[in-house]
C-alpha cells in the first residue's frame, strides 16, 4: 500500500458503466467541504483521462493518482 493522501470521503466507482464514474464524482465532490479531498476508486483506464479533464472543467484539482492491484485511486481536492 502506498502512502496515500488521507481522503475525507471515499467513493467506490469500480466497474460502473459509462458515464457513471464522472456523474457520481460530480455529485460526490459537493459532499466534501472546499479544500477537502475526495478519493475516487475505479478500475477503468478511461478514468485516467476523464477525471483530470473533468477536474479542469469543474475547477477542482487532482492531487494524486495511484494505480495498484488493478485499482485506480484518484485523489481530488475540492476547489470550488
Amino acid at each position: 500500500m502506498s502512502n496515500a493522501i488521507q481522503a475525507d470521503k471515499v467513493m467506490d466507482l469500480k466497474g460502473l458503466p459509462c458515464p457513471m464514474p464522472v456523474v457520481k464524482v460530480s455529485k460526490g465532490i459537493k459532499e466534501v467541504e472546499v479544500g477537502q479531498i475526495l478519493e475516487a476508486q475505479t478500475t477503468d483506464p478511461g478514468s485516467l483521462t476523464d477525471f483530470p479533464a473533468w477536474a479542469r472543467t469543474s475547477g477542482n484539482e487532482i492531487v494524486d493518482t495511484i494505480q495498484e492491484n488493478g485499482v485506480i485511486r484518484i485523489f481530488i481536492k475540492r476547489n470550488v
Binding site: 458503466p17 483506464p45 478511461g46 478514468s47 485516467l48 476523464d50 483530470p52 472543467t57
Partner: protein
C-alpha cells in the same frame, strides 16, 4: 424572459429550420397514429407523452415567431409565446423523449419527433436550462480533446494494466504482440471504446483473435454533446476522433457498443478518408470471413436481443447481430412484433446518463419494454449499447425479470475458440 434572451433563443430556433425541419413542423395532421407508438405513452398513458403533443409544444412557438398567421393572429394559429413556462414544457417534452424514432416509423408523413426535440434541447441549452450534468460531461470530453498530451501517459499505463487480463482469459501472449495497441500510425482499424475496462478487454480479445491490425483510441466514443442537443459541442467531441483517425491514417473507425456514438460518427462525420463501422458489424464480418470461430455451447438457455434504437432503427444494423447470434445459440428468441418496431429500452436521449435522477421515470416509462423482453422466455438478454445495457439491467432488477443481461461483444469474446 427578457427581449434579448428571447431574440437569442429565436436565432437558435432559426438555425435549426432547414427544409426537413420545416416539413416536420408544418405537416402534422394530428391523426394520432403516433400515440401508442411511444413506449412512454404505452406505459404511462398521459397526453403529454404523445409524440405529436411533444412536437406541438415546439410547433406552436414556431407558429408564433416564424409564420405570418401566428404573428398577426396568434390565437387562431394556436401560436405560443416563448416564455419561462414554455421552457419548462420544452424540458418535459425533450427529456421524456428518448429519441428512439419509433413514432417516426408509424407516422404516415415520417415526421421525425427526435429532430423536433432537437430544437427543444437547443433552446434549453441557449437558456442554460438544460441538465447541468450533460453539459459538464460534454465539456469534459472537449477538455480531454484539448489537453490529451497531459493525460496520455496515465492512460497508457492504465491500458497496460489491462493487458494481463486479456492474456489470462484468451491466452494471446504466444504471438508476442502488443495486446492492446494504442496510438499506432498505419493501423487498419481505430477502435473507439468507452472509459470502462469492459468496453476494452473483450474487444481486444476479438481483434487479436481475428488478427486485426488495430489500435485503441485515446478518446471515449460517447458524445454527450449529442445527448444535450448542442451541435457545436457535438462537433468538437466528434472532431477529436476524426482528427485522431486521420493522424493515424486508419482505414476504418470502429465504434464500440454505444448507440449514440455510432449514429453520430456514422451520420455526422461527413465524407472522410475512412469507413465507419460498429463493433457488431466488424464481428459479423470476422465470422463471415472465418477469422474467428465461436463455441455455441458456451451459453446455456434461450437468448433474445434488444436492438439499440440508434444502431438498429436509426443506424440500419439489424442483420449483423442476428448473424452473430446464430453462431452463439441454437435457441434465439426474437422479440415481437419485429426488430424495426422494437421498443426503446427507455434509457436513451441522455436519460441513463442522468442516473438516479431519472430512474423512477425510466422504470415506469419502460414497462412495455420489460413485458416485451419477458414474453420471449429468454434466459439471456443481449444488447450492443452501453446505455441500453444499463437501462436493461435496471429493468431486470426493477421488474424482477431474472435475466442475464449481456453485451454482445462480451458474448463473442467469451465464446471465442482459440
Amino acid at each position: 424572459m427578457d427581449a434579448k434572451t428571447r431574440d437569442d433563443l429565436l436565432q437558435l430556433f432559426q438555425s435549426k429550420l432547414n427544409r426537413a425541419m420545416t416539413y416536420y413542423l408544418e405537416t402534422c395532421t394530428r391523426c394520432g397514429v403516433c400515440t401508442t407508438a411511444c413506449h412512454v405513452y404505452q406505459s404511462m398513458p398521459q397526453a403529454k407523452y404523445i409524440a405529436a403533443y411533444r412536437a406541438e409544444i415546439v410547433r406552436r412557438i414556431y407558429k408564433k415567431y416564424f409564420k405570418g398567421q401566428g404573428k398577426v393572429w396568434p390565437s387562431y394559429g394556436e401560436a405560443k409565446e416563448l416564455t419561462e413556462m414554455a421552457l419548462e414544457e420544452l424540458y418535459e417534452a425533450a427529456y421524456s423523449c428518448t429519441g428512439c424514432r419509433r413514432c417516426m416509423v408509424y407516422c404516415p408523413f415520417g415526421i421525425d419527433t427526435q429532430m423536433i426535440m432537437s430544437i427543444a434541447k437547443l433552446l434549453l441549452v441557449g437558456a442554460h436550462a438544460e441538465p447541468e450534468i450533460l453539459t459538464l460531461l460534454a465539456d469534459t470530453s472537449i477538455e480531454k480533446g484539448k489537453s490529451i498530451e497531459f493525460f496520455k501517459e496515465g492512460f497508457l499505463q492504465g491500458v497496460k494494466n489491462l493487458e494481463q487480463q486479456v492474456v489470462e482469459k484468451w491466452k494471446l501472449e504466444a504471438e508476442g504482440k502488443t495486446v492492446i495497441p494504442v496510438d499506432v500510425e498505419g493501423a487498419d482499424l481505430l477502435y473507439v471504446a468507452l472509459a470502462g475496462a469492459h468496453s476494452i478487454i473483450p474487444a481486444a480479445a476479438v481483434f487479436n483473435a481475428a488478427g486485426e491490425n488495430w489500435t485503441l483510441s485515446f478518446f471515449e466514443a460517447v458524445n454527450f454533446g449529442a445527448f444535450v442537443g448542442d451541435p457545436t459541442k457535438t462537433k468538437l467531441i466528434l472532431d477529436r476522433i476524426v482528427n485522431e483517425a486521420k493522424r493515424l491514417k486508419v482505414k476504418e473507425v470502429c465504434i464500440c457498443e454505444c448507440g449514440t456514438a455510432y449514429r453520430v460518427m456514422k451520420q455526422l462525420s461527413g465524407k472522410q478518408p475512412f469507413e465507419v463501422s460498429s463493433v457488431t458489424e466488424v464481428h459479423a464480418r470476422y465470422i463471415r470471413e472465418g477469422r474467428i470461430k465461436l463455441d455455441k455451447s458456451r451459453f446455456q438457455g434461450p437468448v433474445t436481443y434488444h436492438d439499440p434504437c440508434q444502431i438498429a432503427r436509426n443506424g440500419g444494423i439489424l442483420e449483423e447481430p442476428r448473424y452473430i447470434l446464430q453462431h452463439l445459440t441454437d435457441d434465439y428468441r426474437e422479440m415481437a412484433p419485429d426488430p424495426r418496431y422494437n421498443y426503446c429500452c427507455g434509457g436513451g436521449g441522455g436519460l441513463v446518463a442522468l442516473g438516479e435522477e431519472t430512474l423512477d421515470f425510466r422504470m415506469k416509462s419502460a414497462r412495455v419494454k420489460a413485458e416485451q423482453v419477458q414474453k420471449t422466455g429468454a434466459a439471456i438478454l443481449a444488447t450492443a449499447c452501453e446505455n441500453c445495457h444499463t437501462q436493461l439491467e435496471n429493468l431486470n432488477h426493477h421488474y424482477k425479470l431474472g435475466m442475464n443481461v449481456q453485451f454482445l461483444t462480451s458474448m463473442v469474446a467469451d465464446a471465442l475458440v482459440i
